[in-house]
Amino acid sequence: MSLSLSWRAAVVSLLLLSLFLLSWHLATRGIGTAQQMSPEYARLMGATATQGKSAMPGPIDVGAKLWELLRNPFYDKGPNDKGIGIQLAFSIARVGAGYLLAVMVAIPIGFLIGMSPLMSRALDPFIQILKPVSPLAWMPLALYTIKDSSISGIFVIFICSLWPMLINTAFGVASVRKEWLNVAKTLEVGTFRRAFTVILPAAAPTIVTGMRISIGIAWLVIVAAEMLVGGTGIGYFVWNEWNNLSITNVIIAILVIGVVGMLLDQGLARVQRLVTFPE
């Protein structure tokens, strides 16, 4: 074994990527033959019919366009032409706002459910019924009551990130080891001090796992929500580019959404490592 496992994995990853790019390139290089037609008719037809070019952009087209978009990500030329950076910033801000609201609601309620068997049973039917509802099903209700599409988007993010955090917090709090609670009891530690010095650190790994699931779901949902409400955001960008028939931009958006989602997840993974304790 001359190379470490991670190096060998990186080599295989690169090979797979090149293979994928090569087959993509070959598949979209140009297929059919150009048909003979009058120039006037040809002007109405796309490049597929006139030059035998594939409608699907190849990796080189996408790369060039990506470079162009990334070189100037923050331009703003009216509602339908904004830089991809601006669109992303709108989406991240919405996810951030909805997500933070959910954190502020889910963690205290999760503590309540985890610490009180009464509240756990009393709230269980509500959670069980509301949890499986697709967050987008709330959208009309949100639009009608809030009367603001942007805030409605935030609300949808809030509602979808609420459940995993709530359930994980309640579970983490309820399954804190009895012996640790007994230690707090024998030391006559009050409820609040116990919540912050024993239960919170003990349940933190489970809570952060819930937060990690939530941020993943929130980032999935924001694209769909912005497609619905329109205006700004990366979801709107995707839909707008589909209407422009710019497959290149759609592919770029997919790539960018994936990278941002990964970064959000990695950020919380780092938090998770901080709060995890070895036993």
Partner: protein
């Protein structure tokens, strides 16, 4: 000797049974402990000894009866009674110092960080963990973890220390060292201690009085064995003492057979007058009365009858001879 530092008065613990009614782990249990004494309770698992300890700790409530410590009824856990758990129960996200300091700040809320640190350090040094203050529990061996548990319990200077099989999860060598440490600390500090164990040798080495419990359900305190070995005993020559084997055999005999048959053999056992047994220095003879015997009858105000080796009631004499013949090996 009449100092009833801790008095367990007629406690019972019942659980609802599946077929209706209730199952009693133990009923009408009476026990007293003196200040500065080391009491061990020994019995098979399931006899409810952990429940007794949890009730004394305030972590569990008796279905009936009450426990009085230092003139006050026990109502819930208290900083007066420190518990050392079998599973050490250290907070894994805190360091050794952090774990001990957590207990110290719980006891003395207004103390400055420096004061807390000093107090914690004293007890970390006492249990021999100097230098490991900033390690986390996961970096410590089982024995070291339990040392932290002991330091945490002692650091709050409790009136009483409660230990629930504290060394049962440790290997024999570590267990021996820790027993030495606990014995040294308890003698130095005069700490009143109540310990659960199922290790006969541990009980003989550490305890002043060994409480024998019969098997559950419906367990009773069968007798209290006074440890006749000198207070200044050492592990090395413990087994050479003339009384070591009579004492050990007596306890093992109890655990092997009498813990099972006691309630049938002794139907008139009075839980408030548990016989106190003290194996005598004479070598085992077939003469009944090889053990001195006296009852602990609180209701009479006679707590210790060392001056009255024959005991008061004839009932007690029967029991004395029974125990004596058991000790001598004759049925």
């Amino acid at each position: 000797m009449t100092d009833k530092f801790l008095s367990i008065e007629g406690i019972a613990k019942r659980y609802p049974a599946k077929a209706g009614g209730s199952v009693a782990v133990f009923e009408d249990l009476w026990l007293t402990m003196e200040r500065g004494a080391f009491t061990c309770i020994i019995g098979h698992s399931g006899c409810g000894k952990t429940t007794v300890l949890n009730i004394v700790a305030g972590l569990d409530e008796p279905s009936e009866g009450t426990v009085i410590m230092d003139g006050q009824e026990i109502a819930g856990p208290s900083l007066d009674r420190a518990v050392i758990f079998q599973s050490h129960a250290l907070l894994p996200w805190r360091t050794v110092l952090g774990n001990v300091a957590y207990a110290v700040t719980s006891k003395w809320r207004s103390w400055s960080k420096d004061q807390v640190r000093k107090q914690a350090q004293i007890y970390i040094d006492l249990v021999g963990l100097t230098g490991a203050e900033h390690k986390r529990p996961s970096e410590l061996s089982g024995g070291m973890k339990q040392r932290v548990g002991i330091a945490r319990a002692l650091a709050i200077q409790p009136k009483m220390m409660l230990m629930d099989e504290p060394f049962s999860a440790l290997d024999a060598l570590t267990r021996g060292t820790l027993q030495d440490e606990v014995r040294r600390i308890c003698q130095e500090t005069g700490q009143t201690t109540f310990m659960i164990t199922h290790d006969v040798d541990e009980a003989i080495y550490l305890a002043d009085r060994i409480v024998l419990m019969t098997n559950g359900p419906g367990a009773v305190v069968a007798e209290i064995v006074e440890n006749p070995l000198p207070r200044e005993r050492k592990r090395i020559d413990l087994h050479k003492h003339a009384l070591y084997y009579p004492l050990r055999n007596h306890i093992i005999d109890f655990l092997v057979t009498r813990s099972r048959t006691f309630t049938q053999v002794t139907p008139h056992h009075d839980p408030r007058a548990v016989p106190v047994v003290r194996p005598s220095p004479s070598p085992p003879a077939s003469v009944p009365g090889a053990v001195q015997h006296h009852s602990q009858r609180e209701s009479d105000g006679v707590l210790d009858g060392a001056e009255r080796p024959d005991g008061g009631a004839p009932q007690n004499r029967d029991r004395a001879s029974l125990a004596g013949s058991r000790l001598s090996g004759a049925p």
